[in-house]
Point group: C2
Chain length 404, copies 2
């Protein structure tokens, strides 16, 4: 146990970390490959980030429950901001007056903003779509707002997003092929308008979003349309919306090979540790998901032995750290203390478990990246899946410290 | 502005900070004096702390919204735990099994625990008092519990409190003299029983609590009773319970001169920055209060220019830090961002403002201590009061950075 622990820690320390060396153009450089999986560096105006990378979600300009210092300490390279939330509060013009999102939230590294398309679609009856864009009511105060490809791109400019996303429509699955086709084609028209509205700046970029649901021919047509327009990177949208892991993976299987080899690929809204592993193995480089932070707030910890629910009574006197791989404040935090904090509804519980989960996701990405570089990704994947299935470390395997 | 800022920072850095050098007995050593005000060091098993000192409240084993690292970073030396809350959740036996409160909450420095007396008294109809102790119902699940001087002292032993408090009764003010006398005398009998039940250990100690409301003769009799028993320190209880600052100060004026010169004095549950200043000038060395942390959660910031409410719309585009004296994450946090976080109900707002308020209280204590050592406390007090009265820094005095 101790040997494995020490071994992993030193391996982690040798792995690349994001740095703030700014680049005068936004590009991705491949550094290694293992079957479909790619290791690389994403170079941006706000620093360079090793890929594959998981990007914590900072919806309204904060990763919930984390200081920017804490997010940095987990090893995160890029954080996300949400156009929809930020345009409502505090407003794009205000963010611009405050010096942009980087300065506002004390995150000098790269920031990717979504276009607002996905959030607006999920408003249901509160929104009305036409060929030009979407009119919707704020979930906060019911006020009326409008997003079009041009408006969304302008907002992302004002937010000072390192990476802007094209404005698109994301239909819920399952959907008829007709609906998927119509929606994909509109998204491609919107992608062209988004690109037109984008202001190129050194080290900044814009990604197009591949749509088409789980339909191979629609995905192929979407890729063709986007690559003809030309973006600094390509996102795969319209997945992780209820179709299940198998359909998601099979869609990736026929989509990623169509994408340019020299551009970064961002799988939107994914996912569990196992989703990330499988998607990296299918050629994706960038990920975002609220799962690790949201789970952290509800006492769920992701670990090498699968998820643990810290509210469970069996942790009440478990004096071990959450896992053998903790650092920072988690290294000195027992499972029993975390259990106590959640039982007592203390803020520190969500704070520490969000920290743990985000650090776990970053560590997972670093291990996957190292395995790609070493050509041992298949072996790591087998090991990870076996460990996840095995369940929590037993007291025999990893003894509890006893203090009395 | 900049000069004043730099000057204060370097002065701060030269001031003493708590350290973890353990002492084999618990004692207080005077280092300087300015009229009634005292500067000193409190030596304990868990390190030494410069006094006067403000002790953040960690009710159920966490200073709300703060990691232990963050509490340390503010310069805090001692933290508080609450016997009442901890006996209910997670329970004293469990805390002991987890290695004591220091280990459980990752606070290797000194911990002071209150005796539960004050909390139990405030339960009102949920509690029943007799000569031997108090029976009460838990505010969490209604279960029945009992506290006596012996039980409270035993719980504090199990929590591994560096400083235990004698179990006492604290009547609400105003109260008849008869009621105050009866209550004080019972508290003195309970103090003797608490002392009897206390297990002396190297570097640990127990404080008696002076009661007697605002009555001079009762306070004098209470001091006499406690000093005859003999404690490592003396607390002044029964104040800051609604009597107002004037009555509190006049009670201190006749109480502190009666206390031993060579023992630390702890004024319980106090208070505002102005309360702390006035109480140090009346000979008190130690303080605790939920005010800075609770205020932080409700958007209220204590500053050298008085309190600011960060929900106020005038902060929406104020790009300055909260004050010119911030360090840590607050140094890179604008008022506008704090305003946004509170408007959006984001956890990071309470987290950052609690941090600021606790750091402000620690900095205030360091400045007061330095002034005691330099014999300039009167001048500092005048300066502080004038600054507090002046109100927020104007944009003329301290210009806003403009980014667009």
């Amino acid at each position: 146990m101790t040997q494995q622990h020490d071994g992993l820690l030193s391996q982690d320390q040798a792995l690349p970390r994001p740095d703030l060396t700014p680049s005068d153009r936004l590009y991705w450089q491949e550094e290694g490959r293992c079957s479909q999986a790619r290791a690389g560096w994403l170079h941006t105006r706000h620093g360079r980030v090793p890929t594959p990378t998981f990007m914590p979600v900072g919806t309204v300009g904060t990763v919930k429950g984390m200081t920017a210092d804490a997010v940095r300490a987990t090893g995160a390279g890029v954080v996300l901001g949400n156009t929809y939330h930020l345009m409502l509060r505090p407003g794009a013009d205000r963010v611009q007056k405050l010096g942009g999102l980087h300065r506002m939230m004390d995150w000098p590294g790269p920031i990717l903003t979504d276009s607002g398309g996905f959030q607006v679609m999920s408003l249901g009856p509160l929104r009305k779509m036409d060929e030009d864009g979407v009119t919707f009511r704020s979930h906060i105060d019911g006020s009326s707002h409008r997003l079009t490809p041009e408006i969304s791109t302008d907002i992302q400019f004002k937010l000072d997003a390192t990476i802007s996303m094209a404005f698109d429509e994301c239909p819920a699955l399952p959907a008829t092929k007709e609906r998927l086709e119509e929606s994909m084609e509109r998204s491609m028209r919107w992608a062209a308008r988004s690109r037109e509205a984008f202001t190129p700046r050194p080290g900044y970029g814009q990604f197009g979003i591949v749509q088409g649901g789980t339909e191979q021919d629609l995905r192929a047509r979407s890729v063709k349309a986007l690559t003809e327009i030309g973006f600094e990177g390509y996102a795969i949208g319209g997945l992780a919306v209820g179709e299940g892991q198998e359909l998601m993976f099979s869609t990736l299987d026929f989509t990623t090979p169509l994408l340019p080899q020299d551009k970064p690929r961002y799988l939107m809204g994914v996912g569990t540790p196992d989703d990330l592993l499988g998607s990296v193995m299918r050629g994706c480089d960038m990920f975002d998901c609220v799962m690790p932070s949201r789970a952290g707030r509800t006492a769920r910890a992701y670990t090498d032995r699968g998820p643990l629910n810290l509210r469970n009574a069996r942790f009440a006197e478990d004096t071990r750290p959450l896992t053998p791989h903790e650092d920072g404040p988690l290294a000195r935090t027992s499972r029993a203390y975390l259990h106590h904090l959640f039982r007592a509804n203390e803020m520190l519980g969500p704070m520490l478990l969000t920290w743990h989960n985000l650090a776990y996701y970053q560590r997972l990405m670093r291990r996957i990246r190292a395995a790609i570089m070493n050509g041992t990704l298949e072996a790591l994947a087998e090991q990870l899946r076996a460990d996840w299935a095995q369940g929590d470390w037993s007291p025999e395997e990893w003894p509890l410290p006893h203090y009395s």
